[in-house]
Structure formats: C-alpha cells, structure tokens
C-alpha cells in the first residue's frame, strides 16, 4: 500500500485512517495497530515539521507492506533536507520531573516499538525503513 502525504499536520488523521484500513485488511491485532499508528504518527510528524524548512507544499510517501506472516515493513521517503532521526541522542529517562526534557522522545518511542529502524540518504531523499513484528503471542503475555 502506497500512501502519499502532504507536509501538513492535518494529514495525520487521514494517515491514521489509511493505516487502520491496512491493518484490518491484513489481520493485524488492535494492539499492534496501536504501535504501528503511533510509529507512523511520530515519523510523519518529523517529516512534516522538519524536512521542509522553506515551506511550500511538498508530498512524501509511505510504503506499507507485509513481509511474510509476521512482519510489517514501513518505508517513508521524503525529498526534504538531509535528516537522520537516529542520530539524535536518546532522552534521559532517569531524570527527575523538574529536569526532564521532552526532546527526542518521538524517535525514542519508535525505536522501542520496532524491531529494526534504518535510515539512508539516497538520490537526495531521506529513506527511513521500520520493521515491526506482528507475530501472534498466543500464550505469551509479552510486554516488549
């Protein structure tokens, strides 16, 4: 499934609806849908907020597909400025309430929820590929 997204935060709602449809069609559980939609919200938000500092209307793409029975692969590609979200430091999750800062939390959550996250800059485009396991956890109450 290929979804085209404009650099406007109002696109997030439509993205969620498309992702919901994809998950329903592919038998993805409610819980995994939650993780996938949260990952895509964070990643699309990053592109919308930071990839196009000059403004104007731009379109980037999300390729969403199933890889075998137990994996969902999401590939985001944008022609914005070079931006590797993985280069960011992880937030300090041990700091106190007063000292705690919010920066970098989005991509940190993405890394926690996924199996593999890869960034590459090819042909003047940012490519971010995220793989999530959707294996059935029958007798396993995994917290991941």
């Amino acid at each position: 499934m290929l979804i085209k997204i404009k650099n406007n935060v109002d696109e997030i709602a439509r993205l969620c609806d498309e992702v919901k449809k994809f998950c329903d069609d592919n038998g993805v559980s409610e819980e995994k849908y939650h993780d996938i939609v949260l990952i895509l919200d964070e990643l699309a938000t990053n592109v919308i907020n930071y990839a196009y500092p000059d403004g104007g209307t731009h379109t980037f793409t999300l390729d969403l597909h199933k890889d075998g029975d137990d994996r969902i692969v999401m590939k985001l590609s944008d022609d914005g400025i070079p931006f590797d979200p993985l280069a960011r430091d992880n937030p300090d999750t041990e700091s106190s309430l007063e000292e705690r800062e919010i920066g970098g939390l989005g991509i940190f959550i993405v890394k926690q929820l996924s199996e593999v996250v890869e960034y590459s800059r090819v042909d003047d485009k940012n490519h971010l590929s995220v793989t999530v396991s959707v294996m059935n956890k029958n007798n396993n109450n995994s917290k991941e």
Partner: protein, 110 residues
C-alpha cells in the same frame, strides 16, 4: 479529539477522546492548562483515546511540572495497557503518578 471535564470530590477529571497527536496536542494543552489555572487537583483519564504521541506526552509532562511547582497534584488514571507501555518506555512512570482508577488515585488528593 475532545476533552471531557468533570469535577468529582474537588478533583478536576479530564478525559481526552480520540487521538492525542500533533494536530490535536494544542487543543489538549489548552484544556489542561485551563484546568490547572482553575484547580490544583487534576486527574487525566486515558481510557477513551486511541493513542498518545510524543506531542501529547509533552503536554502531560508540562502539566506535571507546573502542578508540582505550584504545590498541586496530577494523577494519571484509567490507562489501558498499550498506553501505559508508552508512558513506561518514556520513563514517565517514574516521575508521574499513575493509578488504575479514580478510586485508587483519591488518597493523593487528600
């Protein structure tokens, strides 16, 4: 997204519904800050949201900081497991009070 607001036993209980994401975080922030300006006892319920992104977590963190600085109390309640997992991986379970229900949160407001 909407934010329902009720006052129970002197505690303002906010319940956002739908998606707390980048496009709705501003409205969520306005509701939370309005409630904090009117009351120092705030509970936020998470049982009616689809998900909360880092944009929404930022608002919750800000509310926690603000209430702590002013001697108020913030308790997060009614969190489904998938939402709790996000708070936990963010380390928020160590800096914010999280209770399974309003009943369980009550002692913190006394």
């Amino acid at each position: 997204m909407e934010v329902k607001s009720t006052v129970t036993e002197g505690v303002t209980v906010l319940t956002p519904t739908g998606r707390v994401d980048t496009s709705t975080a501003k409205a969520f922030e306005t509701s939370v800050m309005d409630a904090i300006n009117a009351s120092k006892k705030i509970a936020i319920g998470f049982n009616e949201i689809d998900y909360i992104s880092s944009a929404g977590l930022r608002v919750v963190l800000m509310a926690g900081k603000k209430l702590q600085a002013s001697g108020g109390v913030l308790v997060l309640i009614n969190m489904p497991e998938k939402i709790f997992a996000v708070f936990k991986m963010s380390g928020f379970d160590k800096i914010l009070k999280i209770c399974s229900s309003f009943e369980e949160a009550k002692p913190f407001f006394n």
